[in-house]
Symmetry: C2
Amino acid sequence: MTNLNILGNRAQRASRKLAVLRAPEKNRALIAMAKAVQAAQEDILAANRADIDAAREKGTPEPLIDRLALNPGRIAGMTKGMREVAELADPVGRVLSGGTLDNGLRIEQRSVPFGVIGIIYEARPNVTADAAALCFKSGNACILRGGSEAIRSNMAIANAMRSGLESVGADPDSVILLEDTSRETANALMRLNEYLDLLIPRGGAGLIRSVVQNATVPVIETGVGNCHTYVEKSADVSMAAEIVFNAKTSRPSVCNAMETLLVDRTIAEVALPAIAARLAEKNVELRGCEETCRILPQAVPATEEDYAKEFLDYILAVKVVGGIDEALMHIARYSTHHSECIVTENYAASERFAAEVDAAAVYVNASTRFTDGGQFGLGAEIGISTQKLHARGPMGLNQLVSYKYVIRGNGQVRV
Amino acid sequence: MTNLNILGNRAQRASRKLAVLRAPEKNRALIAMAKAVQAAQEDILAANRADIDAAREKGTPEPLIDRLALNPGRIAGMTKGMREVAELADPVGRVLSGGTLDNGLRIEQRSVPFGVIGIIYEARPNVTADAAALCFKSGNACILRGGSEAIRSNMAIANAMRSGLESVGADPDSVILLEDTSRETANALMRLNEYLDLLIPRGGAGLIRSVVQNATVPVIETGVGNCHTYVEKSADVSMAAEIVFNAKTSRPSVCNAMETLLVDRTIAEVALPAIAARLAEKNVELRGCEETCRILPQAVPATEEDYAKEFLDYILAVKVVGGIDEALMHIARYSTHHSECIVTENYAASERFAAEVDAAAVYVNASTRFTDGGQFGLGAEIGISTQKLHARGPMGLNQLVSYKYVIRGNGQVRV
C-alpha cells in the first residue's frame, strides 16, 4: 500500500507555495500544462490504448469503454479546458467583507485556498486534467485517485501536467496522481486528515456512499440526481412535453437528467399521452402508477423502488398526483436534492414550489438539464454538490476556496 | 437506546414548517421561548441543583461544577441572549446573487436553512438555549445532545423552550433535546444521514476528535485552539507584553487564548524578561526552549509535546526562533488553524504573516482573544470553526444557512 503520508506531505508543501502564487504565474503554469499535455498526445493515446485493451480483455461493457476512450479530439478538449481555466478570474485573495470595529481593529475577510484537495473519480480520464486545472487555479494542490481501468491514461496525463509545471518552475507536486488504485489506498486517502483539507468524490452512487461512510476528512458529496418534473394542473401541455423530452432524453446518463414525472390528475388524461408521444421518439420505457398505466397502455407498472432510482437510461418513472401537496410530498420523500422542476402557468404554485422544494436547483418551466457550471456562468465546474455544507449545486472556482480573517491593530487587547 | 429515526423524522417535519416561517413569526416564537424559560426559572434551578448534587457525589472537579452551575443571573443571560437573537437580521431568503442568462433563464441564488442541525456539547447548560435560538432564527430545527452531567438542567430548559413554541402555535419539535445521553445514542446521531443536514460538536478536543472520526453526516469542527503569538524582531516590546498578557491570562480556558509564545532571537534578551515580568502577575508557568531557559531562570524546559498542547491554563510554551521563516514553520507544524498573531512594526513581515499563516484569524498587533462572533460583529455565535469547509472562524446566523438556486423560465430546454 502506498504511503500516503509521504505524498500528503509533498502535496501540502506544494500547496503552501501555490497559495501565494499570483494569478499570472498560475495562468502561465496552466498554459504550460496544456502545452505539455498536447505535446504528450502520442504517449497519452498509447497509454489509453493499453487501458482499453486491458478493459476489453476483462469484458468491460462498451459504454464504459466509450467513457474511457481518448482520441485527438478529446485531448484537444482537455487542453482547451485548461486554457479556459487560465482565462477565468482568480478566486483567491478577494476581499469578501471587511470593516473597522469600534476599537479600531480593521477586519478583512479574504478568500484563500483550501490547501490540499483530494478527488476520487471513476472512468473518464479527462477528469484528471479538468480537476487538476481547477484545483491549481484556485491555489490548491490536488491528490487525484482515478479508476483502475484508466490508470495508464491518467498517469500519462498527470506526468505531462507535472512536466508542464516543472517547465515554468512551479512545484510538480501541486498535481499528484495516485499510481496505486487499490481500495485500501482510497480508504486511507479518505482518512488523511493531517494533509487533506477537502475530499470530493466524483462518480456513481456507490462511490459517493463509500466516501460518505468512510471519510473522516471534510467531504463535498456530488452528483446523485433523482430529478423530478411536476406537471401542475395549469401547465402548458406542449411546453411540458418539450421540457420532459429534453430533461429525460438529451443525455440520460448524467446527474441532471430527469428520472420521474409527476402529473396532476386534473390534466393527466391530456398531458400524459402528449408527453408519452414525444418520449416514444426515443423509445423511452415508462414505468407508471396504476392511473398512468390505465391512461398509457404502453406503460409498465412501477415498483416503489423505481421512484427511488436514478435510472441514467431511457427509462422514466411516472406518477399521477392529486395536486401540489402530493407532488411536494413525493419529491420530499424521493429527492436527492439535486434538481427539481415544476411546469405551471400558476403564479402561486410556482412560488410555493420554489420555496418548499429542498434542492440545489429548483426550476419553473425549464429543463433540469441546465444544472451545470458552464450553463450557470460559473465557468468550468468540478462537480455538482448535493449537500448543503459549503457549496450547493454546480461548483466552480469560487467554491474551491475558503476564507480567513486578517485583523490589523495597533496593540488592541480584549477587555 | 433511543430511536433516533423517530426523533429525526419529527425534527425534519418541524424543519419544513420552520423553513418557510417569516422573520416576525420566528421572532415572536423566540421571545415566547425566552419568556417561558424565565417563567420556568424555579424548575430550571431545581433541576440544576439536582445535577450539581449528582456531580458532587461523583467527585466532579469544581471548575466543571462551576461551568454546570446556573443562577438567576445566568438564566437572565440566557433569555437576554434569546431576545438578542430575535433582534438580529433574518439570514434566510436573502438573494445572494442572480442574473439573467442569454437564453432568458432568470437565476436567483437564495439563502435557505440547512434543515436539521445536530449539536453535541458538554457541560454548560446555557448552550441549550443559545444553540436552539440560533438554529431557530436561521430556520433550522435542532437536535441537541448535551452532557450527561447537565441532563436535568438541559431538559428543564428545553421543555420550557418547547412550551414557549407551543404557546405561539409553532412546532415544539423545532427544538428536540436527547434525554438519552449515552455514547451509543451520540454515535447514532453522528450517522443519522437521513435526517441530519449538519452536525456541530462544541467542546474539548476529545469530543471533536470523536465526532470527526465517527460522523458520516456533514460536520463543522469547532474550537480547538493552539494559538501562537510571534514577537518579531521589530516589535514594540511593551505592546508585545500587553498583547501576550491579554491573550494568555484574560481567560485561559477558552479556545482563543494563547498557548505558545515565539520570540525573535534578535530581541529575545529584551523581550522575554519584559513579557515574563507581566505574566508573573498571574503566576503563569513558562515552559521554554534552551535559550528561553537561559534568559529566564524561572522557566522550566519545554517538551516537544508542550508545543502541541492546548493548555487552557496559566501555562505558556515559549520558543526563541531565528526569524519569521522559523516562526512560520513552527506555526505551520503546530497550529490548529484557529488564531495566530504577529507583533511587529515591520510592514513586510506583517503582510507576509497575514498571507502565509493558515488560520481562521490572523492578527497583526492585537490579542488572539478577539476571535469571537460578538467581537467580530456577527451577533451571537454558535461556535468557532477550525475547518475550512463552509465556515471558518466565528459562526453566526449567516453561517447557519445554505443556499439554493431558483431558476425561472418559459419553456427553455438545453440544446
